[in-house]
């Protein structure tokens, strides 16, 4: 658990030092006026793809000898990805924070983000209650 905490710490420091938690950087991204965020996400995708290829080729396992828990997203749920994704994008542009930065911004002392954290938990609750009635 100490290792998990330290990884969280690394992630929080990284996104703050990289200004990814800045509302302004997200606005700049949605206005296509800076390469910064595209560089961050793009380089993570490319290097992440290298990691996934190597891990698959060399059959890397966890310390317990299990397969890596790689995301599998069923294509049949495309409506959920499109509708949910669009709703999230709207919230991302308003608050300047996706779910990681929501909490990191709080740690960095920008206290009003607490309202957005509360909102996100409320939004999660709404989804949980409505799930069976929503298109997926």
């Amino acid at each position: 658990m100490t290792r998990i905490f330290l990884l969280g710490l690394l992630f929080g420091v990284t996104l703050t030092m990289g200004e990814v938690i800045s509302w302004f950087r997200i606005q700049e991204m949605f206005r296509f006026e800076s390469f910064h965020m595209y560089g961050v996400i793009g380089s993570a995708i490319v290097l992440g793809a290298v990691f996934h290829l190597v891990a698959r080729r060399l059959r890397w396992k966890t310390a317990e000898g299990e397969d890596l828990d790689i995301y599998r997203y069923p294509a049949t749920e495309w409506k959920a990805y499109l509708i949910g994704g669009t709703i999230f994008g709207m919230g991302w542009a308003i608050t300047g924070a996706c779910p990681g930065p929501l909490f990191i911004t709080f740690g960095a002392g920008y206290w009003p983000i607490l309202v957005a954290i509360l909102g996100a938990l409320l939004g999660t609750l709404i989804y949980g209650v409505m799930k069976s009635k929503l298109p997926h």
Binding site: I4, L6, L7, G8, L10, V13, T14, L15, T16, M17, E19, S22, W23, F24, F30, E33, G42, A44, I45, G48, F51, T62, A63, E66, L68, D69, I70, Y71, Y73, A80, L82, I83, G84, G85, T86, F88, G89, M90, G91, W92, A93, I94, T95, C98, P99, L102, F103, I104, T105, A108, Y110, P112, G119, A120, L121, T124, Y127, G128, V129, L134
Partner: protein, 188 residues
């Protein structure tokens, strides 16, 4: 306080991948919006919906990771970076200033939303609350956010993630170009 310079994208991207790879090798997944489900479940939402009837104790590492990210934000701001203005593209500064965000280019985040002044401004509170609801509802509906879909999903060639990321941009572009310009003038 060290007042370090912010880190460029080519430092940030690789460090994000190190985080993702370390979690995967530890038998975990890199996906921040799952934390929201875990938090709700831990707070007792299992009484309200099936969606929260999960074994949140086995996912409590989620909460440890979140605690780490909060500590990381504090360490970076109060020990490494300090109060720091984001060096924005001058075109962005001009555009945001014309929307009434007068501290664009001079701050880390707009004071109207993120300083103590926000607490007493109903529009600021409403923006943060509604924005937060959209983030929670949207990421859970799409089953992932920037970390799960854009970075983990795309780098693992999960093409459904591309649909989600296209959605992120449809929503983000629509709000940035058509909604924020009429919201921010209400904040001044």
């Amino acid at each position: 306080m060290l007042h370090l310079s912010p880190w460029p994208w080519y430092v940030v991207g690789p460090l994000i991948v190190i985080t993702m790879a370390s979690l995967l090798l530890a038998g975990k997944r890199f996906g921040l919006s799952s934390n929201l489900q875990t938090l709700c479940a831990a707070a007792g939402a299992d009484r309200l919906a099936e969606y929260f009837r999960i074994d949140w104790v086995s996912r409590s590492w989620n909460l440890v990771f979140v605690a780490g990210t909060i500590a990381g934000g504090a360490v970076a701001r109060y020990l490494l970076l300090g109060d720091h203005a984001v060096a924005l593209n001058p075109t962005t500064v001009e555009g945001l200033q014309s929307m009434g965000i007068t501290d664009a280019g001079d701050a880390f985040a707009p004071a109207a939303l993120f300083s103590a002044a926000a607490w007493t401004h109903p529009v600021a509170i409403a923006m943060l609350l509604v924005g937060g609801i959209l983030v929670g509802l949207g990421t859970r509906w799409a089953n992932g956010c920037t970390s799960g879909h854009a970075i983990s999903g795309l780098s693992a060639m999960q093409w459904p993630s591309l649909i989600a990321v296209i959605g992120f941009f449809i929503g983000g572009l629509a709000v940035s170009h058509f909604v924020l310009p009429s919201l921010f003038p209400l904040l001044s």
